[in-house]
Amino acid sequence: MTSAESQREALHHIAALRAESTAQRPTETELMARPKVVEVDHLDFSFGSRQVLYDINLDVRAGEIMVIMGGSGSGKTTLLRHLVGLMPPQPGKVKLLNKDMGSLKPNELLDLKRKIGVAFQFGALFSSMTVAENVKLPLRELTDLGEKTMDIMANLKLEVVNLSGFGGLMPAALSGGMVKRASIARAIVMDPKLLFLDEPSSGLDPVVSSALDDLILKLREAMDISVVVVSHDIDSAFKIADRITVLDQGHILAIERVEAIRNSTNERVQNLLNRRSVEAEVDPAEYLRRLTGD
């Protein structure tokens, strides 16, 4: 893509983002007719002797927003790390955009990673660089664009996430919500086909969190991308998701559309939705042994 084309496309995105979101959720049939952009087959994962993920199977369709939801320690982040290639599947298979990540050559993996964007829970912005430098980093390292063009591209993406004018600040000078938005700006600077967001609304007040949800919906609409969101924020999940995957102690409890999840009869799903903690049955003798270490 030439720099002029990139700029034209980015301007188109901004125009689309400024327009009110009018998109409806796709129907089940529409969604399932679309090609798969993420496929996970029989993924297991253990940290030493502790199994974290059990036989995970899921897919994400083109243009879909899939929210992976679950309580703390349910394996959400571990699953996300597998999806973005930070952990190799062992055993199991993860395919992004029809490419099996485990069998790609380094050059092919590099090409694939250019087509995905990831925004981490705490932003993972480089603290030694300004916000604009952070956004420009993938362009600087992975493209041959000139400095002027990179400046324009970074400013356009910052405009998209409502951070225009903040490019010269260091990440330490930003609020929590601004860090998340700057991180999203960096994630979308290469115009990815797939966007992964780790806990985008954690630590944010409800107003900022809601604005971030709107941004995610508009990004999907304007950039025609698929979004995978890992979250434990139920309200946010119901607002943005086309489908929700519920994880519980490393097992997938359900992969359903929002209404189906809301009306689920599964007790564990309902416990999660109603924020009820599940008291595990404890053998008193075992409990005592754990405490005393005998």
């Binding site: 930070l86 590099l110 990831v118 981490f120 993972a124 480089f126 603290s127 993938p138 992975l142 992964f196």
Partner: protein
């Protein structure tokens, strides 16, 4: 009996950990060289700008403290040489010991210790902080190889700048030693320089440069290995920073002895 078993276990664990780190460091060195040589063919060249930035931080910014240290070492060597040779009435030959010990031993060793404390700790702390803040993960998911982006520039900069600092330390130490010796013996400074140049062979200079290059690579690898294997938040960063300095200095001294043994046989 139990204490003995636990002791052996601890020694075994530490030995395994040491070899694990050596293996990881060797892999990082090989990967750094790989990215330097073929990075441009993989559309990920090691940026000259990044290397210059590291060289500026490691070398140029260290010049004032390097000058002060090497000047003091030169004076100290001159004082000790005149005293010890004076016991045999051989003060006039002080230049031999000073020239050879500065070029072959003191300049690379002192500069390496200085850089390990100043830059090695900074590199370890920076990498550890980046690892904890998921900045290294961010590089990976962007498709930017962390070894190419973070490690190769540091290895190259240290391997280039430590010999430069050692050469600068040679000049400063010789100057201060010459100044002191010529004043103490009522001879001319020019005569001291002339005598020193007569005794110094090209091999002595290369000996110092070779050592300094080796020390530079060692400091880089120790800092990177410690920085990238951090765990435990802010406390972990502190621990790996300290560990990096201690390990670097230990490895420099051991490598110095091995280098001297091999190079003088």
């Amino acid at each position: 009996m139990n204490a003995a078993v636990r002791g052996f276990e601890a020694i075994g664990r530490r030995s395994a950990g040491f070899f694990d780190q050596v293996g990881y460091g060797s892999t990082l060195l090989a990967a750094s060289i790989y990215w330097l040589l073929v990075g441009w063919r993989r559309r990920q060249p090691v940026r000259i700008r990044m290397i210059f930035h590291e060289m500026q931080q490691i070398g140029v910014a260290a010049l004032p403290i390097a000058t002060l240290l090497s000047g003091t070492i030169g004076l100290m060597l001159a004082i000790q040489s005149l005293y010890s040779l004076g016991l045999f009435g051989a003060e006039a030959y002080a230049y031999i010991g000073i020239a050879l010990s500065v070029a072959r031993e003191f300049s690379p060793l002192i500069m390496a210790i200085l850089v390990a404390g100043r830059s090695g700790s900074a590199i370890a702390a920076r990498l550890a902080t980046m690892t904890i803040n998921q900045e290294v993960d961010a590089l990976q998911v962007m498709g930017i190889n962390p070894v190419r982006y973070l490690v190769s520039p540091v290895v190259v900069a240290l391997a280039l700048m430590l010999p430069c600092l050692a050469m600068w330390a040679n000049l400063v130490s010789e100057f201060t030693a010459g100044f002191y010796v010529s004043a103490a013996l009522n001879s001319s400074f020019g005569a001291f320089v002339n005598d020193s140049l007569t005794v110094l062979k090209t091999g002595d200079i290369w000996h110092g440069i070779g050592k300094a290059t080796l020390f530079g690579v060692l400091i880089a690898l120790v800092a990177v290995v410690n920085g990238s294997t951090v765990s435990g938040g802010a406390e972990g960063v502190g621990k790996v920073t300290t560990l990096s300095v201690v390990q670097s200095i230990c490895m420099i001294v051991v490598a110095d002895m091995l280098f001297a043994y091999i190079a003088t046989r």
